[in-house]
Symmetry: C2
Subunit: 227 residues, 2 copies
Amino acid sequence: MKIAIFGTGMVGQALSGKLAELGHDVMVGTRDVDQTLANTTPHPYGFPAFSVWVKEHPAIKLGTYAAAAQHGEVLINATNGNGSLHALQLAGEANLNGKVLIDVSNPLDFSQGNPPLLSVANDDSIGEQIQRAYPQVKVVKTLNTVTASLMVDPQQLAGGDHHLFVSGNDAAAKAQVVAFLKDEFSWKEIVDLGDITTARGAEMYLPLWLRLWGALGTGVFNVKVVQ
Amino acid sequence: MKIAIFGTGMVGQALSGKLAELGHDVMVGTRDVDQTLANTTPHPYGFPAFSVWVKEHPAIKLGTYAAAAQHGEVLINATNGNGSLHALQLAGEANLNGKVLIDVSNPLDFSQGNPPLLSVANDDSIGEQIQRAYPQVKVVKTLNTVTASLMVDPQQLAGGDHHLFVSGNDAAAKAQVVAFLKDEFSWKEIVDLGDITTARGAEMYLPLWLRLWGALGTGVFNVKVVQ
């Protein structure tokens, strides 16, 4: 499948690496291709610059947000939530319309220190903002509640016996994304929270997630819904 | 133990009923005792008026917030988060100082419909507001992430194999509350999130909790942290 992934960070690397490994035709989208290729500084969180990382993943293409959006039959937004609307604007509405957009972003705002605040919360969410801005795009919020390595390999924890959430207005798109997550990444347990407004719940879970990360000393954890 | 529980709603009833059953000397605090005893209208969510419910729990005392605060060696705030600061003001700082206050409240704001928004979120929490207003009170946030019946009977789900969170600035008070939750209610798994600012995480989990309630069709669920 032709897949576009917006964002060259840790999440973009994890998703594009895994999907390319599975044989998909992956193009990663970035604002400025030359600048992305020129930047070799490792990220402060310890993951490599995309330009260095991609040399070990030669099948992965790199293009502008617009080129990636044209390429992808399925689109994944792995940009920082605060920059997502601008990235999608650069991708171009005509290149997005009619497609499923898996929104993995979180509106983490580090401007006042760490742990971050959310730049959008409570009465809105990034998922809703994207859906409002692009009514003909089928936005499905998911994967934002786990760390990058778990997104693509949930079975590393308890054989996959923990939960992911999906939110979106289009039932068929949600079903397609759920099948994609199960088929490509072997997710077993996925709860449909409801329409895209339920993305608020998934995004507002991040402050608890961040504090659990601190308490547990690892980001490789998830929650299992027990009934 | 002499315990004060502020609030006559579903959470106040569950906590006071269980603690009285266990032999504790429980006084429930309310704004206006005569008004609470005169009100016999069931709550729209299906639980009885306190005046009706308490007849089956004759050991439970009812008093003003101030009388309850004077009574309690340990205090539990089970008022609606939006009214908690006012309830504690009526309880009186002198009656609160030096004591452990278990804060179970959530800042649910139904003024714009259901599901509710949070009246405080992101850069503050009810737990922090209470701690700032009463620096000599040992505020421990906990129990707010599960429905009332689970607070006092976690073993009804998966033998108690799911998690509760605690937040607070005073390590000894947190340890006391963790022991209390384990001894009185048989909680098995409790994660210390950190200082009282981590109450933001526990309170901001509510929007996800509310959507999970909708998706699962029951409030009797919890999350287990899987590592």
